[in-house]
């Protein structure tokens, strides 16, 4: 890929950590790039090197070898202060300080711009307030950090690196520990930031569904290398299946979903339409059945406008059920009898 329009690119990147003079390589010979304003999801299994890569980009872990170009300059040529004006970073580490107001935390983002005493001037104050507003935390300005929920705390951290005015925002699992609505809230915020403000955001996630649905590009880490591409490209080329498929989980490239592998179970002939058919199918699969449209074996009919109940017909007769739970329970008991 060409370097034009790239805000970040690395070649033959070797990253890892050094303890007692020994190099522990986590990533070897990795190549990837990011264009301005892109939202990039970093995925990979536990221990694959997601955090190592992000920490290396943020400059808090040394680059072992290779080149890492940020904003047209090698990371090695940046001073600490200059890099902090270009790259903002949020780790998985939560800031646990009592007596700290949200405003004070966000004000820390002005560190690269304030004088030796850290005086907050009028323009710093404006930047802080704008960042709080952007992150949806304006009304939390005077709240104490330890009174915030996990989602609010994450927003406050994002406000801090917005105040840092860095073009590149690096976040290590920004939605970990968040409930589903906060997860989507933060995801939406990240999308807004990359769309409106020309921020480039690189974030790691354990949620491949989220990566597929929101990222412009995915960096998939496997075997110490980075495979990059649009999420859909990686699905079609089978990279997702290779990464995730195991005895515990199956990735379905047809619809991008994950499910538990089903043992070769009894076949069930499922009839019905729409959401009733879909969720009945899910329940049957969970219970270990394979559904198809053939006219053989057990027949299960999902409710329709004509009859609002679930029906199950076999050689021994037809039964009706008021809900899926009863249907599955009955099927389970029936199996034992066989």
């Amino acid at each position: 890929m060409s370097d034009i329009g790239n805000i970040l690119s690395f070649r033959s990147l070797k990253a890892g950590y050094v303890t007692g003079g020994k190099h522990h390589t986590v990533l070897a010979d990795a190549f990837a790039s990011a264009c301005e304003g892109e939202l990039i999801a970093v995925i990979g299994r536990n221990g694959a090197g997601k955090s190592t890569l992000l920490r290396t980009i943020a400059g808090i872990q040394p680059l072992l070898s290779g080149s890492l170009i940020i904003g047209g300059m090698d990371i090695k040529d940046y001073s600490r202060g200059d890099l902090s004006r270009f790259v903002g970073y949020i780790s998985t580490e939560t800031v646990r300080v009592g007596n700290m107001r949200v405003y004070d935390l966000v004000a820390q983002g002005r560190f690269p711009y304030t004088n030796w005493f850290g005086t907050i001037e009028a323009d710093d104050h404006d930047a802080i307030m704008a960042s709080l507003t952007k992150a949806g935390m304006k009304s939390f300005e005077d709240r104490m950090l330890n009174e915030l929920s996990d989602g609010e705390r994450q927003r406050a951290m994002i406000a801090m690196i917005l105040a840092q005015d860095a073009k590149l925002m690096v976040m290590d699992e920004p939605t970990a520990f968040l409930d589903i609505s906060n997860k989507f809230g933060i995801s939406n915020l990240l999308r807004e930031l990359s769309a409106d403000r020309k921020k480039t955001i690189i974030f790691s996630t354990h949620d491949p569904g989220m990566a597929i649905s929101m990222a412009d590009r995915i960096w998939l880490i496997r075997d110490s290398r980075v495979i990059e591409g649009a999420p859909e490209d990686l699905v079609l080329s089978g990279e997702f299946s290779t990464l995730f498929n195991s005895s515990r989980v199956i990735f379905d490239p047809e619809d991008g979903s994950f499910r538990m592998p089903s043992a070769a179970g009894t076949r069930v002939n499922l009839k019905g339409e729409g959401k009733y058919r879909f969720w009945t199918m899910k329940a049957l699969e969970r219970a270990g059945y394979i559904t198809d449209d053939s006219d053989r074996g057990l027949l299960v009919e999902a409710p329709s406008e004509n009859h609002p109940l679930w029906k199950c017909s076999s050689d021994s007769g037809t039964r009706t059920f008021e809900n899926i739970y009863e249907l599955i329970r009955w099927l389970g008991r029936k199996q034992i009898i066989y």
Partner: protein
């Protein structure tokens, strides 16, 4: 003063409340300073004391006030400021509420430096004989001793993350250093030993004017370095990783803080002996009173509160109205330990650092 300017900062909510507390503390500081001059084992009327300060009293009274009580009060102020400030800086640097110059062994390290100077040289060149140079030698050795312990703790703290573990390591270091000093004592002559033992008892009142000058200059220097670290300390609150990505040069930050705390703790330990629990307790009291983690507020508040509490401890130790004097170390311990205990219990409950 820069501290005042920040208290007026419009971004501080309820800042008038904080300003009131600050004014109250300052008034208390002046009051206790005067009380420290007025009260003592010899009864002198306040009016007489004031007159003595302005050369208007008889010879004896003037000697007591100018040569005994005034240096003592000034020393107490210096000691309070220096120990509290180094406690504040250490707590932020190690992100550990249990950090302080005494509990982590900095005072012991400084004591080792003093022991080297007092016990390590033949008595003809003992500090008492070489006067001014001796004072600086003792101060310098204390700085080096405190600095060494500080660097050791720094290295260890990067490997242990548990808050209480660091405390245990501090105790180990102190014990180890005491053992070394005991061995040195064993091989020392009687006169040297006597000088050293008198030193270890610690006191705010036995300073010569030469020592007072060294003390004042050193504390001033340490304080200036601490003032340089306001921004650094605020960033370090977030942890070293965040501080670095915000643009902090960790190495120079550590050097500044280690230098500042070593000078402050070392100087006080050199001339007043080890004084316990002021350094660890005062920053917590200040955080409770001011409800902030911003060092632009914490530093001036710690300076005033530290001086105030040390003056109060000195007053109590002199048991006004009686001829007895308590070791100031016992008083500071009795004031500081409850605060430290409270911090431990609260930390167990909230998991917050401060």
């Amino acid at each position: 003063m820069s501290g005042k300017k920040v208290l007026l900062n419009n971004s501080q909510p309820a800042f008038s409340g904080k300003r009131l507390i600050f004014a109250g503390l300052s008034a208390g500081l002046i009051l206790f300073f005067l009380l420290d001059l007025f009260l003592g084992s010899v009864h002198i009327k306040p009016a007489e004391t004031i007159r003595a300060l302005f050369n208007g009293s008889d010879e004896v009274t003037r000697t007591i006030i100018i040569h005994f009580r005034l240096p003592r009060a000034v020393t107490a102020v210096m000691a309070g400021i220096a120990l509290s400030m180094s406690g504040l800086q250490m707590q932020t640097l190690f992100r550990n509420p249990m950090a302080g110059p005494y509990v982590l062994g900095l005072s012991s390290g400084a004591g080792l430096g003093v022991a080297f100077v007092i016990l390590g040289f033949p008595s003809e060149v003992s500090p008492e004989n070489i006067k001014a140079a001796g004072n600086w030698a003792i101060a310098g050795a204390s700085w080096a001793g405190a600095g060494m312990v500080m660097i050791l703790i720094m290295i260890i703290s990067s490997r242990v993350k548990n808050i209480m573990t660091l405390l245990i390591i501090g105790i180990m270091l102190s014990s180890g250093i005491s053992a070394v000093v005991s061995i040195m004592q064993y091989f020392s002559s009687e006169t040297m030993l006597k000088t050293y033992v008198v030193w270890t008892m610690g006191s705010l009142g036995n300073l010569t004017s030469g020592q007072l000058i060294v003390l004042a200059l050193s504390v001033l220097a340490g304080l200036l370095i601490s003032l340089l670290s306001v921004k650094i300390l605020n960033a370090l609150l977030l942890g070293e990783n965040y501080a670095r990505t915000l643009g902090l040069n960790l190495k120079s930050a550590r050097i500044i803080i280690i230098t500042g705390t070593s000078i402050l703790t070392g100087t006080i330990t050199a001339f007043c002996g080890p004084i316990a629990f002021i350094g660890i307790a005062v920053p917590h009291l200040v955080r409770i009173m001011f409800g902030t983690s911003d060092h632009k507020v914490l530093i001036p508040a710690t300076v005033v509160t530290g001086a105030l509490i040390m003056l109060a401890s000195d007053l109590i130790s002199q048991l006004p109205g009686s001829d007895n004097v308590l070791p100031v170390n016992s008083v500071t311990s009795l004031i500081g330990i409850p605060v430290v205990m409270w911090v431990i219990f609260r930390n167990q409950k909230t998991g917050d650092i401060f």
